[in-house]
């Protein structure tokens, strides 16, 4: 069996039409399952997924395999990983072209506020968990403190290292499990994710304390 890399080389280096046809057939045979899997994951409707698959194959062939050549000139990742990224994008383009752009389901701003509130709750848990105010209350003192906490948190979050910011986002905004985060960010185990999260949250708590956020009362 050929490796994906050798198949790709055979395809891109083919000198004439028949050699290229044969290399393309071999390439499609090797990768069609992954491409079909990607197309089907983007649209549950069988016909639409098959349309997307046909579009994928066309686009990969387009302009003398321009996209596949882009992988060769980059070459940092595994070919299958790269192919899934490109195939998913092509399917999205195809679906948008066909059905129009999907509307956002809700305002992102309110989500961000909610996330910040969740993170703030988490951070202040140890500061004063018993007296933590309910942000939904109309009490002016509570509102003032919530606003102050949110501002302080926003400032401190901007100072966090990019990797730790992504970690916090995946955990508190996207609500991913430690296992998923480990897989996405390359942590060896979920335990490493917990340990790093505890470290970052500890730093944030300390920073908030230095800014005067020590109690739930303003």
């Amino acid at each position: 069996m050929h490796s994906p890399a050798s198949e790709l080389s055979a395809l891109l280096d083919a000198r004439d039409g028949p050699a290229r046809d044969a290399a393309w057939r071999s390439f499609v045979e090797t990768h069609s399952r992954l491409l079909l899997h990607t197309a089907r994951s983007m649209d549950r409707d069988y016909d639409a997924a098959m349309d997307a698959y046909a579009y994928l194959l066309e686009q990969l062939q387009h302009d003398d395999y321009r996209r596949l050549r882009a992988y060769v000139s980059d070459g940092r990742s595994k070919f299958t990983t790269w192919l899934v990224v490109v195939a998913r994008r092509l399917c999205l383009d195809h679906l948008r072209h066909r059905y129009g752009r999907e509307q956002n389901s809700g305002p992102r701003g309110s989500e961000t506020r909610e996330v910040r509130h969740r993170l703030a709750d988490f951070l202040t848990e140890e500061i004063d968990s018993a007296d933590l105010p309910d942000a939904g209350t109309g009490d002016p003192h509570t509102q003032l403190r919530a606003a102050e906490l949110s501002r302080s948190l926003a400032v401190e979050l901007r100072r966090v290292e990019p990797r730790d910011r992504l970690l916090l986002t995946l955990r508190f905004e996207d609500d991913l499990s430690a296992r998923e985060i480990a897989r996405l960010m390359g942590f060896p185990t979920p335990f490493h994710v917990y340990r790093r999260l505890a470290g970052v949250l500890g730093q944030l708590r300390a920073a908030l304390t230095r800014r005067g956020v020590q109690d739930s009362e303003p």
Binding site: M1, G17, P18, R20, D21, W24, R25, V28, E29, T30, S32, R33, L34, L36, H37, T38, S41, Y46, M50, D51, Y53, A54, L57, E58, Q59, Q61, R67, A70, Y71, D74, R76, S77, K78, T80, T81, W82, V84, V85, V86, R88, R89, L90, D93, H97, R108, E161, P162, R163, R165, L166, L168, T169, L170, D174, L176, E180, R183, L184, M185, G186
Partner: protein
């Protein structure tokens, strides 16, 4: 349209793939992680890619030994009981249920530019597909067999602009048993 209007706004495919594979330099990784922390679309993409790679189907080659083993087992059974009258219908078995679905032709159909790829739907348990392409006089121009659900038109087959063609797909669902799609017509755009 390019694979994205994403250039400049979002990560390049190579960045996402290399990040997932842990193949970025420290400075590139920092740049990518900063973008990911702020960009919902790119995080969605990273999550999807992880899921797709985790759930990807096994390679087809695993099925070949299983198919060969099944055929060998069937052959052994036939030879172990040579005395049985194989033409008589077995009384202990219900009639064979023939609920195999036929393949459906996806593309090309209707009026198209010169097609480069022929695509059809998969048939459960089919391990081989036979494509036949006819011209409008019924003369077979091309006949090929593949294991996949698509195949490229070889450069040696020239389709003329404005010409009408027919094609069908047959799926092999058992020993010498084939199920055929409808015969589909397509025309090559004359522009």
């Amino acid at each position: 349209m390019d694979a994205r209007e994403h250039s400049g706004m979002h990560l390049e495919p190579g960045d996402v793939a290399a990040y997932f594979d842990g193949a970025l330099s420290p400075s590139d990784r920092s740049r990518v992680e900063l973008h990911l922390a702020e960009c919902d679309a790119c995080r969605d993409e990273l999550r999807d890619v992880a899921r797709l790679l985790r759930t990807r189907p096994n390679r087809r080659t695993w099925y070949v030994p299983i198919g060969v083993a099944a055929a060998a087992a069937a052959a052994v059974l036939l030879f172990v009981y040579p005395g049985r009258d194989r033409t008589a219908a077995p009384t202990y078995r219900e009639p064979v249920v023939t609920t195999t679905v036929a393949p459906v032709i996806v593309a090309p159909r209707g009026t198209v530019e010169v097609p480069r790829t022929f695509v059809w739907t998969a048939v459960p348990r089919a391990d081989l597909y036979r494509l036949t392409l006819f011209d409008d006089t019924g003369h077979a121009l091309w006949d090929t067999q593949v294991a996949d659900t698509s195949v490229s038109l070889p450069a040696s087959i020239r389709l003329r602009q404005g010409g009408s063609y027919f094609w069908k797909i047959e799926a092999q669902t058992g020993w010498n048993r084939w199920v055929s799609s409808e015969l589909i017509r397509f025309s090559v755009d004359s522009r």
